[in-house]
């Protein structure tokens, strides 16, 4: 009798938990798609509100009114805005972002091409940031009332405060102009088939991007670790005779990593913005540089595609991180 009750209870809990998980994921996906559509509608509208006529940008300032009208009709700029948006969205959802009005280039292909610079840059920067931030953060937490802990913490504050572009300029001045160890910018024309020179080109930009990122992550790792250290279970672990670092290694690391991972997910947006600046400073032909160039020549169709893609990437990453956290930590999905 007792056993039966126990099994039933477990069963219902399991059902409940599965139901929760499915509900959680459905909710997340709805949120993901909803925000994506809203964001692209906003981007679409904003670009149309901005001064600057697409047809004029294409034909130049001497264009005759007839030529302008013809171009507008050709590119469907006469259609109602909502129709233009739905048309664009329909194609976009199928992975077709159209062609640039100015250059005639296939936008999806261009973005994919530039991603071969930007994704490795962001990946390398995140890896660098993680490798340094987590051990340092934990170390400074373990020593949070000692001088060395405070020093590390202060330095990380500095890392957050210094603007990315300035770090980039300093790195270039030292490593490219003075010692000529790394290129000051640019990316091999051959692309990743000459992977070693590609990596060389990415060292300084990735370091620049990683510094601010790493400093931020380090502070999160530190405060999360301090939280863990002050928990009852940590004290109990210490009471069994473990040293601070032993107790942290065995019982604390996983717990303190949860907030760090979720912060990393949120920071992907910051990283993309950072990549725009870093690509500009280092003349890297990536998505950020392309976006800046397109804005300057008013290639709105392409700007729209690029912004929508990066927005989708940000949403996708935070969605994935949420999903992973949800799987890891049952509490977080039950609460939502």
């Amino acid at each position: 009798m007792m056993l039966e009750m126990h099994t039933q209870l477990r069963q219902s809990r399991k059902n409940n938990s599965l139901q929760n998980l499915v509900l959680y994921i459905v909710r997340r996906i709805t949120l993901f798609v909803g925000s994506l559509v809203t964001a692209s509608a906003l981007v679409f509208l904003l670009l149309r509100i901005l001064p600057g006529d697409l047809a004029q940008a294409k034909l130049g300032i001497d264009a005759s009114p007839e030529a302008l009208t013809q171009t507008r009709t050709e590119f469907g700029l006469d259609d109602p805005l909502i129709l233009q948006f739905l048309k664009w969205l329909g194609h976009a959802l199928q992975g077709d972002l159209g062609v640039s009005m100015l250059t005639g280039a296939n936008i999806t292909q261009e973005i994919a091409n530039k991603a071969t610079v930007t994704l490795p840059l962001i990946g390398l920067a995140s890896a660098l940031a993680l490798i340094f931030a987590i051990p340092l953060g934990m170390y400074s937490a373990l020593n949070f009332r000692r001088r060395r802990g405070i020093t590390i913490s202060a330095v990380s504050q500095l890392g957050i405060a210094i603007p990315t572009f300035w770090v980039g300029v300093i790195l270039v001045t030292i490593f490219s102009v003075k010692f000529q160890i790394f290129p000051s910018g640019g990316f091999p024309d051959a692309g990743w088939s000459s992977w070693s020179s590609c990596l060389e080109s990415l060292v300084l930009p990735a370091t620049t991007l990683a510094l601010g990122q790493g400093a931020m992550l380090m502070r999160f790792a530190r405060s999360a670790t301090i939280d863990v250290i002050q928990q009852d279970y940590f004290r109990t672990a210490r009471a069994t005779g473990l040293t601070r670092s032993q107790a942290l290694r065995i019982h604390g690391v996983r717990n303190s990593l949860v907030p760090v991972v979720s912060v990393l997910g949120m920071q992907i947006a910051t990283l993309i913005v950072g990549a725009i600046i870093v690509e500009h400073v280092f003349a890297l032909p990536g998505i950020g540089q392309m976006l800046l160039q397109d804005v300057s020549i008013r290639d709105y169709t392409k700007v729209q595609g690029t912004v929508a893609t990066t927005t989708a990437a940000v949403f996708l990453v935070s969605f994935l991180i949420d999903a992973i956290l949800g799987l890891l930590n049952p509490k977080s999905r039950a609460n939502q």
Partner: protein
Amino acid sequence: MTKFVLKRISKISLVCASLLLATSEIASAATVGAKTNATITIGFTLEPVSLDITGAAGQAIPQVLLNNVYEGLLKVENSGKIVPSIAESYTVSTNGLVYTFKLAKTKFHDGANLTSADVVWSFNRVLDPKSTAVLPTQKQQFSTIASITAPNASTVVIELKDRDNDFLFNLTQRGGVIFKTGTTDFATKANGTGPFKFGNWNRGNSITLERNDSYRATKALAKTVIFRYILDATALSNAILSGQIDIMSTVQKPELLSVFKGRKDLKISSGTTNGEVTLGMNNSKAPLNNIKVRQAIRQALNKKALIKTAWAGYGLEIGSFVPPTDAWYEDLSDTFPYDVQAAKNLLKQAGYPNGFSITLDIPPAPYAEASQEFIVASLKKIGINVTIKPVAWGEWLDRIFTKANYDMTIVAHVERSDMSIYANPNYYFRYNSAEYQSLIKKAGSARTPVGQAESLKKAARLLSNESVSDWLWLIPNLQVVKKSITGFPQNDVGDAYSVAAIAKE
């Protein structure tokens, strides 16, 4: 009118951003001892949006393609001289309306022979009123063409409706490029006849040109030339400091040059442009309607010192409205030279012994902002109190350019052969001189370039003597170049950046 104004102002306001460097090769480059077969990398800021040289806007397209990949019947040398290109020679009829071109034996990069039919096809494509594939500016440049015919495979005859002294120059620019008959893809391919073949375009990064080893005339010296596009000015300057590029083709502000001084491997090249930084004066409004007052203002301004203060010492004193690459250029910088006492005397003679107060409108352009304080201080010395008023381009266009409601202003005029603006009494200078207008008219209808130059020389002298404006300096074409590089185009005389004579020692 609005369209005209817009066109002009956009060109004017482009000055600061685009000291753009369209240039042509140096005829007699010092290339003795230069190593051929080198790879030369040149840094630019703006990348082409497309390869369509007649159909897409932007100066970056002719910069990389004109005279390098594509050619016209004629080309303009870096000295400003117009010389044969695809046409090995030409004659002009006595009435100045019929031009007969004899074509050189020329091959397209795809191996096809160029004939007169290709020339006719290319011009008809530009002239076709129904086609929107060609930019309006290009169409307008050749609107004086009445007919174009090909009596045989190596002769082309172009007949004009009216005499047009700009016709030969226009033939050297992007609208005059000769394509192979029936070409359809202009945006992603470039099948030209020039000393370089189009190699490869890595969008967002670079365009590579490869030497055309079967070129009809002197072959290019470098084997490969890479046009590298770096949007950020600092990144561009870092690229030459760290040795990644051989030429930095644009220095947008002279103060950026300080980082290059003391570098033994680099040299700073200061060439000419068509950009005259002009201190515009309202000739219809007292006290500036008095010729003696305008002359006094010119004598009160020490141009040498001004160029040093405002433009780091780069830039040329011109003394009138003509750049040295024009055939009618004369050095007039000594007319009304710097002399404070003479300026004071002139003011006294004009009836202003105690001076007066006027306003100087400053648009948001670096050259204007950099010279304002100097002008205020200099004119104070002869008793003129100048109030500076910063104006946005929108207001400048409306109040100054259109309505001429101003005393003085500073703007660089960058168009080529633009002396005719002083012949328009409604232009914002409000200069109404029958003598000047007749000189410009005479130049326009001159039958020979020499006749045209004679009239324009007189006109330039008249402008200077009457001190219609003051011309502060000629904007320099600044580049930073590795010392080992020779034969690069120093002056900005047209749309092209010709690289055939560039070599590495």
